[in-house]
């Protein structure tokens, strides 16, 4: 093990980068197009536009979600509809937590007074 300090790196915000087509999404996630199509069928990810698969455009966040789906399937042995359900429930928990934090913020200030 060694320590290595590297100069300041500037990154980009992934979500604000240009959209991806099906081939690019497959390449980022190192997964075959069939898997992506199945994820779209399950509603795990959705193309922003495009009628046919050739014209599909995906938001960059689809890349993160596809990775999550791949890992959940592989690490926990969940099938695709199970993955879809898990991701939806996780999203809902995130939203509820956000709402709770906002309410806590208001309540805290009222206690202050």
């Amino acid at each position: 093990m060694s320590t290595n300090v590297i100069n300041i790196i500037s990154g980009s915000i992934l979500e604000e980068e240009p959209t991806l087509n099906l081939a690019e999404l497959c390449q980022c996630c190192q997964t075959p197009a069939e898997f992506i199509i199945r994820l779209v069928d399950q509603g795990v990810i959705a193309p922003l536009e495009g009628e046919s698969t050739r014209q599909w455009r995906f938001h960059q966040s689809a890349q993160i979600r596809t990775h999550k789906a791949l890992r959940l399937r592989q690490d926990l042995g969940i099938n695709l509809s199970g993955v879809a359900l898990s991701l939806e429930l996780l999203d809902e928990i995130d939203n509820l937590k956000k709402e709770l934090n906002q309410l806590k913020h208001i309540a805290q200030n009222q206690l202050f007074d």
């Binding site: 300041i8 790196i9 500037s10 990154g11 980009s12 992934l14 990775h67 959940l72 592989q74 913020h105």
Partner: protein
């Protein structure tokens, strides 16, 4: 090396039946899966659980491990397995059946060997590691930043253990400290992409990217929702009724004059457009009015309120009946 109690990690007794091991593993794997758990050390725990299962699920490895446990003295730091311990068991160079070398502790590797050529499991994006030339895997990390970091685009140091391939072609864990410039206006849940800072490529391929998920530390004054920032501001009842000009602290550390319109009810939101998180679609800054009563122990307050009660015809509950 440090001894690891695989039974304790899985929350099992030494005599747990084989299918109990599987059940305990599955439950903990779901609990600590880094995509499910919000705990900061979920990834470490997930790997520990995987390592413990890798040993205890295999009756032969489990027996070998159990034998070793008897030789273990509590409180002893420098643990060494007896020199001939693996004679009766056939693990030499065998490695584990699945998983990535860097996913396992040195304790595990010293006992069961490490198949360093095996393909990735957790950090890997998925996909084959075969082929002649391939892009390296993306590496994920999480950081907590302050609101000010996103507002100003400040530097942040991130420490991480990243597997690298050394001259002998082995995967070694390298500790890297990266100084990262936080992109201005980044919001909670977004990802910073540092291109080519991930795992090295295979056969001369490009390195993967480092993807860092951003979360915000709670702020003592401001609440952040997507790109909007809000602040609760206490106002006196007469300020709310008559209107007033007050000073409010803005997220950029300045003070700003703000006009409260007359007849502002509790919780009224006043918007300052574009004063939230910066960026292409900058967020807004909301001031939320909190009507705050002066104490009735003050005789003047008491006097004026009594006067209002007696002289003003106002029933706030008329809509209830």
């Amino acid at each position: 090396m440090e001894y690891k109690d695989y039974y304790e990690i899985l929350g099992l007794k030494k005599n747990a039946p084989q299918d109990g091991v599987k059940r305990a593993y599955r439950k903990l794997a779901r609990k600590y899966h880094p995509d499910v758990s919000k705990e900061a050390d979920a990834e470490v725990k997930f790997k520990e659980v995987g390592e413990a299962y890798e040993v205890l699920k295999d009756p032969e490895k489990r027996e070998a491990y159990d034998q070793l446990g008897e030789n273990w003295k509590a409180g002893q730091d420098g643990f060494q397995p007896p020199p001939d311990w693996e004679q009766n068991f056939d693990f030499g160079g065998g490695g584990y059946t699945q998983g990535n070398a860097e996913d396992y502790s040195s304790f595990f590797e010293d006992l069961f060997g490490g198949d360093r050529a095996s393909s990735g499991r957790y950090h890997r994006s998925g996909g084959p590691s075969g082929g002649f030339q391939a892009k390296g895997e993306n590496v994920r990390a999480k950081i907590m930043i302050d609101l000010e970091d996103s507002l100003n685009g400040t530097k942040q140091s991130v420490k991480m253990a990243i597997p690298e391939i050394n001259e002998q072609g082995q995967i070694v864990s390298k500790h890297r400290t990266l100084s990262i410039k936080i992109p201005k206006g980044i919001k909670e849940g977004q990802t910073i992409r540092l291109s080519k800072q991930g795992n090295p490529g295979h056969g001369g391929g490009e390195p993967g990217d480092l993807l860092i998920e951003v979360a915000f530390n709670p702020h003592k004054l401001y609440n952040i929702n997507e790109k909007d920032i809000s602040l609760n501001v206490p106002v006196a009842p007469w300020e709310a009724t008559l209107g007033a000009k007050i000073k409010v602290p803005t997220p950029d550390g300045k003070k700003m004059d703000m006009k409260i319109p007359p007849d502002s009810q509790q919780g009224r939101k006043l918007r300052l457009k574009g004063k939230g998180l910066p960026g292409k679609n900058a967020g807004d800054f909301y001031v939320v009015l909190q009507i705050t009563l002066p104490p009735s122990s003050n005789p003047k307050v008491k006097e004026y309120n009594e006067k209002m009660r007696d002289e003003i015809d106002f029933n706030p509950r008329s809509y209830l009946f």
